[in-house]
Symmetry: C2
Amino acid sequence: MFSKTCEYGLRAVIYIAQQAKTNEKIGITAIADAIDSPQAFTAKILQQLTKNNIVQSIKGPFGGFYIDEQNLQNISLNNIVQVLEGNRIYTGCGLGLHQCNAEKPCPLHFKFIEIRENLKKMLENTTLLELSSDKSITDYYLKN
Amino acid sequence: MFSKTCEYGLRAVIYIAQQAKTNEKIGITAIADAIDSPQAFTAKILQQLTKNNIVQSIKGPFGGFYIDEQNLQNISLNNIVQVLEGNRIYTGCGLGLHQCNAEKPCPLHFKFIEIRENLKKMLENTTLLELSSDKSITDYYLKN
DNA sequence: AGCATTAAGGATAAACTTATCTTTTAATGC
DNA sequence: GCATTAAAAGATAAGTTTATCCTTAATGCT
Ligand code: FES
Ligand code: FES
């Protein structure tokens, strides 16, 4: 469904959001360890997310990544997916036609856009705030 | 969502199914032309689908690909996706955990499996027979 | 100022997907 | 049998994703 980039990115941001509650910045080594992802690769992904203002970072001692209160409330998973996957996942044809278009639909179009819309809505409705709740932290896992 | 392999494969099989109504075999050149896909690559994909008994083929003059009456009735899109994508798309974790498991769920698990199940059901319920109906042939497009 | 720490940035490598080309095998008609 | 046709099979190339490594820039501490 998602690329590795997106999978690691989502896991990383969720983890940072969870740690952000304690107002601490968290380093790339700790993140990669917590979500069981390749460190350097994850760093690249977070770089991209930082540029796009999904997460914040500061360099130097006691530096690291964090998410401010405002982003915690405003960012949903679709924002992250948009940055890391582009919007083809939201607008592209299921059978790979160059244009997904109801005027000239592929045989799967009307069935497929339903799935696609549900995915989009699900990601839009899943906020970092929700994912960083105490219950979410205790009940769910970011590696196995 | 799907790989190029899967996209071309689905389009090719749908096209063959539609042509199969006239009891004609159809060659790889005609197929690639009809669905606007790279010919040699599409041939490889159909080779794989032939081995897995999704489509039939015969070599030589007037040879080509076809789908018999039985397959037309029994094959659904999920059979094709299964062969070309494996079942990770049906069983894999949305966040890329090695195991998707309700006992140790990722933060997206319960929302994600719903999407995944809907996709699976949609593909299971979409049969080649349906896609090769006259209405389907006239109303839908396999290239644009 | 100098040093230690940590993310950013750039270059490169490995792995996988996508795509093409050539040779071989099977079927058909003569 | 022989020529012709078309898919199967194998080899190789191109492109993209995934991953690592090394250098640079920013920050804080002494
Ligand atoms: S045209 Fe294929 S999904 Fe819309
Ligand atoms: S554990 Fe992630 S989707 Fe099931």
